[in-house]
């Protein structure tokens, strides 16, 4: 039964203990925050470190600009999410639950707080609210934890995190799935996607695992104009040719990240759009590591120059060199994500990048 078909009612929580982690393993549930990490494995790691003082972070930061599913879920199914959070707190023996909600998402926040006020479980008393800053990297696990502990949403190095207390950072959609698993014995077997760009009906849809992107596009009313390519996974994802993307099944291995599916119409210039997004990603660097801050900025500037002044082989070579050099040399995954975004664009739009002229007429082939 799909998440969005679930009623959002208040009902006593089923009893859960450490054995619930095995149920998570068997269900095959994976995270919906972007990393698609197996949820059972994650919980087991936290359980091992918990000394009865674990922290549950309900991640509703939704920093990916095109994604809307977390907000939608918080606004319409807050009790499901809180169920999942309380269950996590019981299984992992937590002393604190933090609702990490994007600072601008007022409706979502109010919905969650209203639902919280209606709860009667003892966990209600250990819940606090943290307003996630409106920065792209603020939704990253280490940034969330750093914000809660130190007040600044700067990401730190990739795991293992050097944090004192065992901490679970879990996306709101994943927690909703956890709640359904605990109540009914099975996960919904669905994924929330945010359909963006050239589709008739942009917005959040829920599809069954295994559905293809083509079916998802149909569910969203079909393409509004002839599609050129698809961005799978938002800015932290990758570009795919329209034909290849349509065949992609919505499963963990497909790397859908936070579930944003953006259709780029033929009518838009991919080079210009990629340059704009690279500019955004460069500006969202937390400026803690030189290769990320300077490297992404250089890549973005080079893309913008190609977009506004036209392409040439030297510029393209430099883009490729920098992309290789920047990758893996930041503390977090932000530069890697940006590089994958750009590299996939340069592969899918190779012709456009090679031939781009400032007035968007492709150079006549010799």
């Amino acid at each position: 039964m799909a998440l969005l078909d679930q009623p959002d009612v208040l009902a006593p929580l089923p009893p859960v203990g450490l054995h619930f982690i095995e149920a998570l393993d068997h269900s095959g549930l994976f995270g919906r925050g972007g990393a698609s990490f197996p949820t059972g494995t994650k919980w087991r790691a936290v359980a091992q470190r918990s000394r009865g003082d674990a922290v549950i972070v309900v991640n509703g930061a939704e920093g990916e600009p095109q994604s809307k599913k977390d907000r939608m879920l918080m606004s319409t199914r807050p009790h499901l999410i809180l169920d999942g959070a309380f269950i996590a707190a019981r299984v992992l023996r937590a002393r604190r639950i933090v609702l990490y909600i994007g600072e601008g998402y007022i409706a979502a926040r109010d919905s969650m707080l209203r639902a919280l006020a209606q709860r009667t479980e003892p966990e209600r008393g250990i819940v606090s609210l943290a307003a996630a800053p409106a920065r792209y990297v603020a939704g990253a696990e280490s940034a969330a934890i750093h914000f809660i502990n130190e007040g600044v949403a700067t990401p730190t190095s990739a795991p293992p995190y050097p944090f004192e207390l065992a901490t679970l950072v879990q996306n709101v959609e994943t927690l909703a799935h956890v709640a359904v698993l605990a109540r009914t014995g099975a996960i919904p077997g669905t994924v929330l996607l945010t359909m963006a760009g050239g589709v008739a009906r942009q917005g959040v849809i829920e599809v069954e695992t295994g559905t293809t992107i083509a079916e998802a596009i149909t569910r969203a009313g079909g393409p509004s104009v002839a599609p050129r390519a698809v961005l799978v996974g938002g800015y932290f994802g990758r570009w795919m040719d329209n034909d290849e993307a349509r065949r992609l099944p919505v499963v963990r291995e497909s790397g859908l990240g936070c579930g944003v599916v953006g259709i780029l119409p033929m009518s838009r210039c991919p080079v210009c759009d990629v340059a704009a997004i690279m500019g955004y990603l460069a500006g969202e660097s937390s400026a803690q590591c030189g290769p990320c801050f300077f490297g992404l900025r250089a890549l973005a500037d080079a893309c913008t120059r190609i977009a506004s002044q036209g392409s040439n082989p030297v510029a393209l070579q430099r883009l490729e060199r920098w992309a290789v050099e920047v990758r893996g040399r930041g503390a977090c995954k932000h530069p890697d994500g940006a590089v994958i975004f750009l590299s996939s664009a340069m592969s899918v739009f190779a012709r456009e990048f090679e031939l781009h002229q400032s007035d968007h007429r492709l150079r006549q082939s010799a």
Binding site: C289, G290, W322, E325, R329, A331
Partner: protein, 68 residues
Amino acid sequence: MSTERHLVVDRIRCDGRGLCAEILPELVRLDDWGYPILKPGPVPEHLLPLAERAMADCPVLAIALRRR
């Protein structure tokens, strides 16, 4: 192999001071902005003393030798 040592940079602490690249150019080169690019793989035996010097001389203790 348990005796293998690898160079590791703490990317947040690293300031692009560049001493590591001066001391150990065989394994460290600087990118266009002065930050180190490490040659992948374990540190060869004969370069270990220089690697240890790079580790000690880094003004911000950002580069280290680790057993993988």
